[in-house]
């Protein structure tokens, strides 16, 4: 039998209660995301304010916690402008193209469940055993990659359909940036697939149950690359060239107003939460952690997951408060000339180690030889980059000379 999903809920007969549980999970995930987006925006504004020695939102509700709600209501009642030269259908479609993938990718994240002591991470609801995630497809994390690629269309079409130059420039930047960093993101993820041997998110989490987090198992480097590429993928500072206010007004969403603008914002912060959750799932053991009080054992995995995601969210805010924005060529240099080769090299090293283990080769031999080969390749790459730079300079000199002679 082909496995459609590893979730034990769907392996039994699908009756009314199973559908009800599925619906319940979908609604809970939706509500959870919406509320957490609200809180994350407030959290970000508060923390950034703290780092600027400001107070931040403080009037709406206790500690200003309802500020996002107030902003949302305000945006909802604003006039919805449609630029005269906009492509009407695409302009209206674009916000949903970036919102829906943001929602969908959260579906594969396990937010709880006990995976320790051989547990399969399932919990019992109404006599059915199920995973604490909306869906657990065998392709798992690939779904996330696919959806984040679709999200690029949202950004790109938004800028293109606005019929205005700044959004267009912003969206060109955005699509180039997101596509190039997705390569590094995917390659650093591939290292995780190698070490855990599965694509399914619950499988990856189950593989990290005994404190053998992929962070250590893959050797930290893929994690660092994932975080950097993830920040770039999210268009968060210092990689927020897409909406560089000083250069592009608002970037791809310049022409958007009212609730459509709010949808972009919602998608952005939802992606931030999802990216943190995926990073936690892949590298930091997901909901795995010590269960301290046995009586309420189901609470602990959810708590650990929540805390780990919070740490990531804080880091994203911290990055924003600390780092200045990169120049566009620096961004592309970092992506193509450093992150992609580094993640590719590390992927090969881990692969060599895995094969070495299978064939019974000595680890002490595989690692130095692997590192040697990698550094040789790095040298070659470095040389190639330098050569290209030099020849570019020469070409520039030549064109200058020829321009001079024309005059």
């Amino acid at each position: 039998m082909m496995i459609i999903a590893a979730d034990p809920l769907l392996s039994s007969e699908i009756g009314f209660s199973v559908i009800a549980i599925m619906l319940l999970k979908v609604v809970i995930a939706f509500a959870l995301l919406m509320v957490s987006v609200m809180l994350v925006i407030w959290f970000e504004r508060k923390i950034v304010a703290d780092m600027h020695n400001r107070v931040g939102p403080s009037l709406a509700g206790p500690w200003g916690i309802l500020q996002t709600l107030a902003d949302g209501i305000k945006l909802f009642f604003k006039e919805d402008l449609l630029p005269e030269r906009a492509d009407r259908i695409v302009f209206r479609l674009a916000p949903y193209l970036s919102l829906v993938p943001a929602f969908l990718s959260f579906a594969i994240v396990p937010i709880g469940g006990d995976f320790t002591n051989g547990g399969d991470g399932t919990v019992s609801i109404f006599g059915h055993r199920t995973l604490l995630q909306v869906a657990d497809p065998p392709v798992g994390i690939l779904l996330f990659l696919a959806l984040s690629s679709i999200a690029v269309y949202g950004v790109m079409l938004a800028g293109w359909s606005s019929g205005s130059k700044y959004p267009l420039l912003g969206s060109v930047r955005a699509s180039a940036q997101m596509i190039s960093y997705e390569a590094a993101l995917g390659l650093s993820m591939a290292t995780v697939f190698l070490s855990s041997g599965t694509l399914s998110t619950s499988g990856i989490v189950a593989g990290q149950a005994t404190w053998n987090w992929n962070l250590v198992a893959t050797g930290v480097i893929p994690f660092v690359i994932f975080v950097i590429a993830g920040t770039a993928e999210l268009n968060r500072p210092p990689f927020d060239l897409v909406e560089a206010e000083q250069e592009l007004v608002g970037g791809f969403h310049t022409e958007y107003s009212s609730i459509r603008f709010a949808l972009f914002f919602l998608a952005e912060f939802m992606n931030m939460i999802t990216m943190s959750a995926i990073a936690v799932t892949l590298f930091l053991g997901g909901p795995n952690g010590p269960i301290l009080i046995k009586q309420i054992s189901w609470v602990w995995p959810i708590l650990w997951f929540f805390l780990k995601v919070m740490a990531f969210l804080f880091t994203f805010v911290w990055l924003r408060a600390t780092l200045p924005r990169l120049r566009y060529d620096q961004l592309m240099d970092l992506g193509w000339k450093l992150l992609i080769p580094a993640s590719l090299g590390w992927f090969l090293l881990i692969a060599a180690l895995n094969i070495g283990e299978d064939r019974g080769w000595s680890t002490f031999l595989v690692v130095p030889i692997g590192l040697l080969v990698l550094s040789f390749v790095a040298l070659l790459l470095n040389g190639a980059i330098k050569k290209a730079k030099d020849s570019n300079l020469n070409a520039a000199d030549l064109s200058e000379i020829s321009e001079g002679s024309d005059q």
Binding site: I47, D50, M51, H52, N53, R54, V55, S58, W318, A321, T322, L323
Partner: protein
């Protein structure tokens, strides 16, 4: 690793003291001679200082003051002079609070209070009339209109003013803060001014 130092800098800020004042609830003390809403002063006997000469109206760069003088009634004079300000209106939609009217006034009748938070909701309220601008006959304090946000102390010391230029070509007045004698406070001594020449002279004296 100095790259990571920046992160420590921003992280430390979280625990620093906030400098923000929650503005509408708490207001910081304003400078003593802040240019706020105007007041029309009275002498200590309750007489109006304004003599209806229209100099303030003439000097106003924003053209926001409208004055019409009239002869004082002989049996019940309103000002000590020959004439008094019969109509006196300032349009606060135009006023730029430059204080030139205050400098131009020969009797020190018009001065500025420290209150600038007045948010009227229609254009008629924006035009302050003579009755609204005049200080109270009993206390010598400015009238407080419903849309104005007065705080403690802002209605005190409203009659101080500063000469930015020297009147009548007399350079000794330059930068001097003068006080016109007014109802409830009497005449205060002039303060040493803030101009460059004044402070230089002081330094030379010392």
């Amino acid at each position: 690793m100095s790259y990571l130092k920046g992160f420590l800098v921003t992280f430390r800020q979280i625990f620093q003291r906030r400098v923000t004042t929650p503005y509408p609830k708490i207001k910081r003390e304003k400078p003593e001679r802040l240019h706020g809403r105007h007041v029309l002063g009275r002498y200590e006997d309750g007489m109006e200082k304004c003599i209806g000469c229209e100099l303030c109206s003439g000097v106003c760069p924003a053209d926001c003051i409208y004055v019409r003088g009239a002869d004082n009634p002989t049996d019940n004079p309103i000002s000590p002079g020959e004439r008094y300000g019969f109509v006196y209106e300032i349009n606060y939609l135009r006023c730029i609070h430059c204080d030139l009217c205050v400098e131009a006034c020969p009797t020190g009748a018009i001065t500025e209070s420290k209150m600038f938070e007045f948010s009227f909701t229609n254009r008629n309220d924006a035009i302050y009339t003579r009755e609204e601008l005049l200080v109270d006959e009993e206390t010598g304090k400015p009238k407080q209109l419903p849309w104005e946000d007065w705080r403690d102390g802002e209605d005190l010391l409203t009659s101080g003013w500063l000469r930015a230029t020297s009147p009548s070509g007399d350079a000794t007045y330059e930068g001097q803060i003068a006080w016109s004698g007014d109802l409830g406070y009497g005449v205060r001594k002039s303060e040493i001014g803030q101009s460059v020449t004044e402070s230089r002279e002081q330094e030379e004296d010392q």
